[in-house]
Amino acid sequence: MRLRNALAIFTVSIVLVEPALSQALVEGHITLPKTRHAPVANKRYEIVSTGGVLAPYPPFAVVYLEGRFSLPAGDLPVQQMSQKDLAFVTPLLPVRVGTKVEFPNLDNTFHNIFSFSPVKRFDLGRYTSEERPIPSQVFDKPGLVTLRCDIHEHMRGLIVVLDTPHFVKTDADGRFKLGNLPSGSYKLKAWLDSKTTLERLVELKAGSTLRVDLP
């Protein structure tokens, strides 16, 4: 398995690295919390709370590289946190600081998305799917934002606002691959839940692939 993975990565890196040899790549595996059920293909993600800890379910992690980066100029793409069937379609959204997130209502009922999180407090008020422009917020401080609906108390959404352009979600098994990284010393972090972020110092060399397994 591992041999096959390595072989695949090797092949991919040959293909990818060739045009930009100055870029580094990190790949690896994050050990995710054990789940009782095997992930189902079209199983919806949701935010679950266990002992006051919010985490996506089925579990996955957000892996990002922390450091000082020269931010690319220009507009960041607008993200969406849509609500469908009284739940957030994407309950956990990692965004870069300064990203504008839209909150379209795809249900036939009102929603009132708000956040009391210190990172970003806002209250969109009640709105329907007809609401134009689509209610949106720009997240300009890094941190975790808990989204709630004032009408549907069970609804939870998380936005992880990251001060880095380099981040990626792992797959359901915890595998990730983060490319186009500049060389240098950084902290590689893996956000697992609202209380757990794993990290490791990494030394990235141009044109090389670093293997990082956390923890």
Binding site: L54, F114, F116, R121, T146
Partner: protein, 590 residues
């Protein structure tokens, strides 16, 4: 009725006794009725009181319960609000009170002063505070917006820690305003634990004095808050309440009569917040008993009046009844008086008769004895004269006649002696088996011997052997008498028939012959002593034979009867009892 001596006075005494007894019974019944009525009056009025009290109290409590339910639900709804949760869980305490104010909406419009509520039932809180999970009040941003509280009042809202379920309590504010507290835990949707609590103070249901005069107040921290009572009465009640609480731990009590303001009242105490973490609060109700007592008094008067009337009626009725009952008793007494005189007369007569009878029996016995000797002497003299040779044949014949007469005389004397023994009850027969055939044959032989004239024709029809229970001597006498009669009264030359038959225990011997019929009128008397049928006036006899035969037969356990007496045929029957009816040892001796 000898228990009624002296007629009239006895009746009067009887009447008086009867009247007294009946009056006593009536009085006892009336008293018992009054007692029952009294009990029922007390029970009824107490029941009514409890019903009235219970209904009023239950109305008040229902109102409270409904209001409390709505308040509690309001609090629960508020603490479920996502903003409240968000403020507590997402580290935004500064938004807590604003969010609550927002959610409560009209709850505390700015400028409303506490105690301004005119509505009897208000569901607007006077104030509210959030308490954190350590039990400390989270200070409000703007206190007047959530109802100002003095620091010591604020302290009374808190507990150590956070309750897991809703708690009820009471707070007495300055100015004796009672505030009902509802503490609602805020359960984190993330941890499932109580992270904080909302404590809201509501004005209680205004308690006005109801129709039944019920006052209710609150017992909290050893103090009674019952503004409608005078200070002295309140202090007096304060001494009573702890006892009632200690007695039944504030469960629904039956009530304790107490003196308040110089009037008897019923005291009820009930815990308002059982099991609460807030200090125990008791509802204290007092209910004036004056009305109840007045009603009981009235009812008692009515009952007493009715009882008196009943008693009077009863006494009247007993008087009448005793008079009615005494009348027949008086008659009875009079009649019995007459009866007594008659009876005494009859008794006296009986005594005289008895003495006479005794005298006559003794006389005949004595006479018989006295006569026997002279007759014997007479006969001996006559026999002696007959034995002399110098008497003529004429004289000899006369003397023989005289001797014959002495035999008759002896026979009469013996019969009389026997009868007197029978009459005095001194004759006891020794019954033993007697062969009837032998008796009959002997009698027939005797009859033939004494018979003068044409030969006697006697037909005997007897079973081979008949043993009867008898005394040989007297059995012979009976049978002989009957045969002698048959011979004497029968037509000369006509046969005498003797037939014996057995029927079970009885043995019947019928002596019959041809004779003139006995007149109907005489038939009843032929068995009497010295009676002689008119038909046989020329026939010798002394009228004792049949009587003797019957009496002796009866001593044998049988009887002598006239079966038939018609043209030329007369039948006498003597009944004996079979020897088998004798006791066993007598049979063996035989």
């Amino acid at each position: 009725m000898t228990s009624l001596p002296g007629g009239e006075s006895g009746v009067a005494a009887f009447r008086a006794k009867l009247l007294a007894a009946m009056t006593l019974v009536v009085a006892a019944l009336t008293l018992f009725g009054l007692y029952l009525m009294e009990r029922s009056v007390v029970r009824e009025t107490q029941h009514d009181l409890q019903l009235a009290f219970a209904s009023e109290l239950s109305l008040l409590r229902t109102v409270r319960y409904i209001r409390h339910g709505s308040l509690a639900e309001r609090c629960r709804a508020l603490v479920r609000k996502p903003r409240i949760h968000a403020a507590l869980e997402d580290n935004a305490l500064d938004l807590l009170y604003p969010s609550a104010k927002d959610e409560l909406g009209d709850a505390l419009p700015p400028g409303e002063s506490p105690g301004d509520a005119t509505a009897r039932i208000s569901i607007r809180p006077r104030f509210y505070r959030f308490v954190d999970h350590d039990g400390a009040v989270i200070p409000p941003v703007n206190a007047p917006e959530v109802g100002a509280l003095a620091p010591d009042e604020e302290r009374r809202l808190t507990f150590t820690g956070v309750p897991q379920i809703q708690q009820n309590g009471f707070l007495i504010r300055s100015g004796s305003e009672i505030v009902e507290l509802i503490a609602t835990p805020i359960i984190s949707t993330e941890t499932g634990e109580a992270v904080a609590a909302l404590v809201a103070g509501f004005p209680p249901v205004a308690n006005e004095r109801g129709q039944t005069g019920l006052h209710t107040g609150l017992w909290l921290d050893g103090k009674l808050h019952l503004p409608s009572l005078s200070e002295a009465a309140r202090l007096a009640l304060e001494n009573e309440v702890p006892g009632v609480i200690a007695r039944d731990e504030g469960a629904a009590t039956k009530g304790l009569p107490v003196m308040v303001d110089g009037a008897e009242q019923m005291l009820f105490v009930e815990r308002q917040n059982p099991g609460s973490m807030f200090p125990a609060a008791y509802e204290v109700g007092i209910f004036p008993l004056a009305g109840l007592l007045a009603r009981q008094r009235d009812l008692r008067w009515d009952a007493a009046l009715a009882g008196a009337l009943l008693l009077a009626l009863g006494v009247g009725a007993s008087f009448y009844i005793s008079a009615r009952l005494a009348a027949p008793v008086r008659e009875l007494a009079a009649v019995s008086q007459e009866n007594r005189v008659l009876r005494e007369r009859a008794e006296a007569a009986l005594v005289v008769k008895g003495q006479e009878l005794e005298r006559s029996i003794r006389f005949s016995a004595d006479a018989s004895h006295q006569l026997k000797t002279p007759v014997a002497v007479l006969r001996a003299g006559l026999d002696e004269m007959l034995a002399r040779d110098d008497i003529s044949s004429e004289s000899c014949e006369e003397l023989s006649m005289l001797v014959h007469q002495t035999f008759r005389l002896t026979s009469i004397i013996e019969d009389l002696l026997l009868l007197s023994r029978l009459d005095s009850g001194r004759l006891h027969l020794e019954l033993s088996p007697v062969d009837l055939t032998r008796v009959v044959e002997t009698c027939v032989d005797d009859l033939r011997l004494s018979h003068v004239g044409p030969p006697l024709d006697v037909e005997i029809e007897l079973p081979v052997e008949i043993q009867i229970a008898g005394d040989m001597r007297y059995t012979m006498l009976i049978v002989g008498n009957l045969m002698e009669n048959a011979r004497k009264y029968g037509h000369p030359g006509a046969p005498i028939r003797i037939v014996a038959s057995e029927s079970g225990d009885a043995v019947s011997l019928v002596v019959s012959n041809q004779a003139d019929p006995i007149p109907q009128a005489s038939r009843e008397h032929i068995f009497e002593r010295f009676h002689r049928a008119t038909v046989g006036e020329n026939i010798p006899g002394h009228g004792l034979g049949l009587n003797l035969a019957r009496q002796l037969a009866r001593l044998h356990g049988g009887d002598v009867r006239l079966l038939r007496s018609d043209a030329n045929w007369t039948e006498f029957e003597v009944c004996f009892r079979n020897a088998s009816s004798l006791p066993a040892e007598t049979l063996e001796v035989a």
